[in-house]
């Protein structure tokens, strides 16, 4: 989630690399913010940054753990159904499919029913 710098608190995790205006890296993705970082970011004039919010999950899933096999196979089924009319293949489609699978797995893992909230 993107937060204005005055809403960011020490202890939060940076979700994506933070750069200054000269495109120099200030903080790498995954860094846990300290009071000193926040001061530096403000000094550099950074107005807002992306931080990890509980439940939102990073790209690798809620806690960075791989999904259990039953969730993965449910996600695979879901994605296959969704893509059933997409018969052609290309590098772009493959990448999107992978993203969809990851997204679906995180979604299924986080929903208590295992069915997800989306309607059929």
């Amino acid at each position: 989630m993107r937060l204005a710098i005055d809403k960011v608190e020490p202890g939060m995790e940076v979700m994506s690399d933070v750069f200054n205006v000269n495109k120099a890296l200030l903080l790498p993705k995954g860094a846990v913010l300290t009071e000193r970082h926040l001061k530096a970011l403000k000094t550099w004039g950074v107005e807002a940054i992306n931080v990890v919010v509980a439940g939102e999950g990073g790209p690798s899933g809620a806690a960075g753990q791989p999904a259990p096999p039953e969730v993965l196979s449910a996600a695979e089924k879901r994605v296959a159904e969704r893509f059933k009319h997409v018969t052609a293949t290309s590098p772009a489609i493959e990448i999107i499919k992978k993203l969809a699978l990851r997204h679906s797995a995180v979604h299924l893992q986080n929903s208590p029913t295992g069915q997800g909230s989306a309607k059929p």
Partner: protein
């Protein structure tokens, strides 16, 4: 009962309209002598719109570090064209408030549309399109034809939905069968009626078939690709859970996506 889209539009009667303020805003922005104060003056005529705009300006969408208190401030910080497009966006959402909830989850519908709009503007920014701000609106509006169907032809919309559920066919194919036209064509009719720019109309009209657009192929492809992406990643729900095939980019088009990385 199949018919062409123009006949359909004539038969269904009055379509939702945009607030007068929007057209005033469009002419004001085109006029070189318009001041920020003039814009504030126009927007304040519609209090509910003014409130919605301020709420948006203060939302995470922009992430400004401090609160924006007035419309003038918002116009200055966000820009006039962006204010115009936000006005259109929030007005469209309001115009379709009466859509029957049993036919479509309106919140999920707009979630899909907004996600698509954001994806469109990111893609346009990525290739440094000078008019990237209108892409958000193009993405937001792309499925508006579906809403017209839900609102004005609920019986046929239900029939389309039922057939898709039973057979697993794509909505766009069944629409052709049941109605004689696709929701994209219907959305484009609304864009024409609302006197929206041709580029927006083409983004709506050709979002399932960008090659059909003359002159706005890249714009239409942007929406096509963003729609594919947002549907694949299940952002909201437009009423179609299945992906339509991703059309390959036309040779000679400015490349939208790096498709050679493997």
């Amino acid at each position: 009962m199949k018919m062409d889209v123009q006949t359909f539009v004539q038969r269904i009667g009055k379509l939702p309209s945009l607030p007068i303020v929007y057209q005033e805003l469009v002419s004001a922005i085109e006029h070189p002598n318009t001041s920020i104060e003039d814009i504030g003056h126009i927007l304040r005529k519609d209090q509910s719109l003014a409130t919605r705009l301020l709420r948006l300006a203060n939302s995470a969408l922009y992430g400004f570090p401090s609160e924006i208190a007035t419309l003038e401030e918002a116009a200055q910080l966000i820009g006039l064209k962006e204010i115009r497009d936000l006005t259109l966006a929030t007005s469209v959402i309001k115009a379709f408030e009466g859509v029957p909830p049993e036919l479509v989850d309106v919140t999920a519908f707009w979630k899909h549309s907004i996600a698509c709009g954001i994806a469109c503007s990111l893609l346009a920014e990525e290739r440094h399109d000078p008019a990237s701000e209108r892409f958000f609106v193009g993405g937001l509006l792309h499925d508006v034809g579906r809403l017209i169907l839900f609102l004005k032809a609920p019986e046929q919309a239900r029939e389309v939905h039922k057939r898709c559920e039973d057979s697993g066919e794509l909505v766009i194919r069944v629409e052709m069968d049941v109605l004689g036209f696709e929701h994209a064509a219907l959305g484009a009719e609304l864009a024409t009626l609302w006197r929206l720019p041709v580029s927006l109309r083409e983004m709506v009209r050709c979002h399932h078939n960008p090659a059909r657009s003359t002159g706005f192929g890249v714009d239409a492809y942007t929406v096509h690709f963003a729609d594919f992406l947002t549907t694949a990643l299940e952002f909201g729900n437009s009423g179609e859970m299945l992906l339509s095939p991703l059309v390959p980019q036309q040779a000679g088009d400015q490349r939208l996506i790096e498709d050679d990385r493997g």
